[in-house]
Amino acid sequence: MPKYHINVKPAPPRFLPPGKYVLIDREEGCLGCKYCVKKLCPYGVYNKREFDSIQLRDTIDYYCRNCLYCVEACPGGTITLMVNPTYLEIGDSYWKPEIITKIWRQAETGMISVSGAGYRGPFAGSGFDDMWTDMSEIVRPTRDGIHGREYISTDIEIGRKLSYLAFDAQGKLPSSTPPLIEIPIPMLFSLPGWGKWGKPVLLSMAKAAKTLNTLFIIPLAQFTKELHPYIDNLGIYIDSLEELSALPKDVKIIEIPYNLSQNFQAIKTSHPQTIVMIKIPLSPEAKQRSLTLTKNGAEVFHFSADDHGLEFAEKPRFIKDIIKDIHLSLVDEGTRDEVTVLVSGGIAMAEHVAKTTICGADGVILDQVLMVALECRLCKDCLQGIPCPIDIENIEPDWGAQRLINLMNAWRDQLLEVLGAMGMRDVRRLRGEMGRAIFYKDVLNEAFASIKRK
C-alpha cells in the first residue's frame, strides 16, 4: 500500500499579517553615513519595504526579524523598534497572537515551525500547558519518522468495534459487523458555532477533506449542490428526525445532538450502514450520558467544549481533564474499545492533538483553527455587522483548500515528532498513555517535596 503523503504547496496570505514589531526610523538627526546601516541589514528589509495600501502599513514591519542590528549600529541612533499594538490585539486570551501567527505560517508553507534559541514561554500554565509528553532514550528506542526513515502510522478508525465475534453453528457470522471508516489522520473538520462563513469556505473545507481523505461534518442545511461531489468525505449533522428523511442515500456518517439520542436505535435500523455520531456538549452530565449510551450500542461520541476548551458549567473544568475522566470510566466498565471518542473545542495547536489523545481521545474535530488558517483573526467583527477585514466570504476555494492541507501536513508532521520521540509507531498506541505523560503538578510536588513553601 503506498505510504500516506500530503502534498504541500505554498499558499501565501491575501492580506499581509500584522508584524509583531514596528520599525521607526526618523529622518531627523540622520548623519548621512557613507555605509548606512540600512544597507547592511542582514535580511535586506530596507530594500524590500513597500507601502501596503490595503492595510496602510509599511511592509518593513512584516519583514523585520528583530535582530536589532540597525538599532544598535546606527551612530545617529535614529532607528527604534517597538511592539506593534495591532499585533497584540489579534485573537484573545486563549488564542494568543503567537498561536495565531504560527497557524498562519503553517497554513502558508505546510512546514513545522522551527526556530533558533531555546523555549521562550512561561514555565507552565493551565489547560494543555500543564503537561509535557515523554521521550525515549537508551533503554527504549525512538522512531525516526519525520524524515521518512521509519514508518509511523497516524490512521484511526471511526465506528463501533465489537469486543468479540459470535459465530453460529455453521461457523458463520450471524449478523454483520458494524460499519467502520478508516481515516489517515486523527483530525476531522467541522464549522465553528459562530460566524457567517459563506459557500467558498465550505467548498475549501470539502476539497481539503477529500484530498486529505478525512471527514468534514456539515449541517444538512449547508449541504448544497456544490458539495454533492464530496459526499464520500462528508458527514451530515441533523437536528431533527424530519431531516433524517432528507439525507443523501450514500452518506457514510451522520451526527445527531444528544437530545435525539433516544432515537438512536430507530435511526440505526433505518440506516444500518451509516455510522451515527452523538454530539455531547461537555458538562458534568457528559460522563454518565456516555456510559449509558455505550451500553446501548453507541458508536461514536463527539464531546464538544467551548472555544477555550472549557466545559459548559458553573465551575468549568478543562477539556483534557474531563476526557481523562470519561476515558478512564469507560475503561473501568470494560467498554472503552467499543466506542470512538472524538473531541473538539480549544484545539489550537498540534501539541493539543497529541495531548488530547494521551488523555484518552481517539481523535479530534477541528473547527475554529481552520478559520484561522484561512486568515481569520477572531476579531468577531462579523457578529457586530462590521464587514470582515479579510473578506472571508470571497476566498478562492482552491487556495482555501491548500491552506488547510498545508496546516494538516504541518500538524501531522508534528504529531510524528511527538510519536517518534516516544518510540511509538502508531497513533492509536498513544491513546490514554497517561503513564508516560508528565503532569506538572504531580512532578512538581514530587521533585520539590523537601523544599519549604512561602
Binding site: E72, S115, Y119, V139, I438, S450, K454
Partner: protein
Amino acid sequence: MGSWPQEVKGTTSRFKRPLGKYKIIKRANCNNCGLCVKLCPCGVYKFIGKKVMPLREYRCIGFSCEGSEHYCVAQCPEKALMVIKNPTIEALGDYRWTSDLILSTWYQAETGNPPDYMEYKIGNSGGGFDRLRFSFEFENQNFSLKEDVSTTIDLNRRNDGRPQVTISVPWYGGGMSFGSVSLTTMLARAKACMEWNTFTCTGEGGYPEALIPYKDHVITQVATGLFGVREETIKRARIVEFKYAQGAKPGLGGHLLGDKVTPDVARMRESVPGISLFSPFPFHSVYSVEDHKKHVDWIKEINPKALISVKVSTPVDVDMVAIGSYYAGAHIIHLDGSYGGTGAAPDIAKKNIAMPIELAIPKVHRFLLEEGVRDEMVIIASGGIRTAYDMAKAIALGADGVVIGTAELVALECTRCGNCERGRGCPRGIATTDMELSSMVELEWATQRISNLFHSWYLQLIDILKRLGMHSITELVGKTDCLFYIDKWSENG
C-alpha cells in the same frame, strides 16, 4: 596558570549605540554648559567639540538616580533633560530571558560585575528557578563567612584509575557545533575556559584544528551524526561526551539547515555544501543499556585516560537512564532539561517534550542516593541555566555542577532574536559560519567578554556560599533546605 581569579578588562559593545534600559532626551534648549558631564557618575554625557551629547546613554541607571544630588534631570539649569524607559526594551526578551537579564548579562560581560539597577538573578517564567529563592534572600543576614571559599569540583569519582579532572568553577560550556556557531565563537569559548580552568565542548560538528592548542580544555562530543568522530579526536580529549539527546529537541537529532552548511562546514562533516543535515535519532547502535555499555567501553578502549560523560534528555524514566549509565561505566551523567538553548529546533519539541531540568535533578539525585551510588557519579545539569543564581539553585537541588550555553552567547551580544537557523545564520555574527557575518565578532573581544561574565558569576557564587556559611561548592549539593519555593506568583514576579 596565571593570576586567579582572572582579571577583568572593561570590554564595551561592538555597536555605536548599544541598547540600554533608559533613554535620554535632550531638548533643543540645552545650552551646552556641561554640568551633566561633571555630575553623572556613570559617565553618560560627553563633549563632542562644543556640544554635549549623551554618548554613553546605555549606562544610565534611570530613575534610581532620582533622589540624589547628581540627578541630571533635576540639576540641569535649562531643564533640558528627560529620562524615560527605552521603548525598544519592550521588543527585547521573553519570559525566560527577560530584557533585564539580557541587559545585565551584557553589563557583566562588559564590566565583570553584576549591575545594581537591573534584575540579574531571575527571569519571569513563573516556575522552576524563577520561583526558587535562597533562604538568605528573605532574612536580613549579618552572617557571612570571612574565610576563602572554594568553587572547584572533581569530575572523576569512580576510583577507576583514570586521571582526576578538576575544574576551578562548577560549570563548563555546552556543545555548540562548528556550523551552528562560528570558529571565532568556539575559539573565544575555548580561550576563556582555559583561563578559568574549565572546559568547553566541540558539539556535534567535528573538532576544528584551531582548537587543538586548547585541547586540555575541550571536550570531544560524540553524537548521533558521528560528524568528525575519529580516533585522534577521541584520543586528544580529557573528557569525551556522548550526546544521546539534547534538551531542546528530545527525540530528534541535530538540525543544520542548508544555507548554514558552508563549504568549511561540509568539509568538516564530510558532507555536501548547501544540503541540510538532520542527524538520525537515536544512536542506531544503541537500543538497550547493554548496547550503551558497549559504546562506553569502545571509547574507554581508544582513550584509556579519558572520562566519559553521558548527555541525556529528561524523560519520565530519567532516573533509570542515569543508573544505567552508572552501570555502563560513565563518570558524568549530564541531564539536559527541556528549556535549554538550541540553534534550531521545532517549536513543539522545545515546549512539550520531556521535563524541565529543575524537576529532573531531584529525581536523579534521590534515586542515585537510594541506589547507593550517588557519590561515585557526577551529575551535571543544563537546560535553561542563565545566571549564577540558577547555577547555585541547580546545585542545591542535587547537581554537582552545571553546563551553560546560551548565556555565553548573550555575553557576545546575542539578543535572543531566534533567527539562528534562518538563511545564513546569526545576524550578529555569533551563530554562523558565513564569512561576512562572522567577521562581525573579533576574537580578543569575544574572549574577554566571556571571561568577564565568568568573573561576575564567580563573585556571585562566592557571595552565595559565604552567606550560606559553606566553605565549598560541594557542600551545597542537594541542600534543598536552603531553598524556598514561592507559592503565589504574579505576572510581575
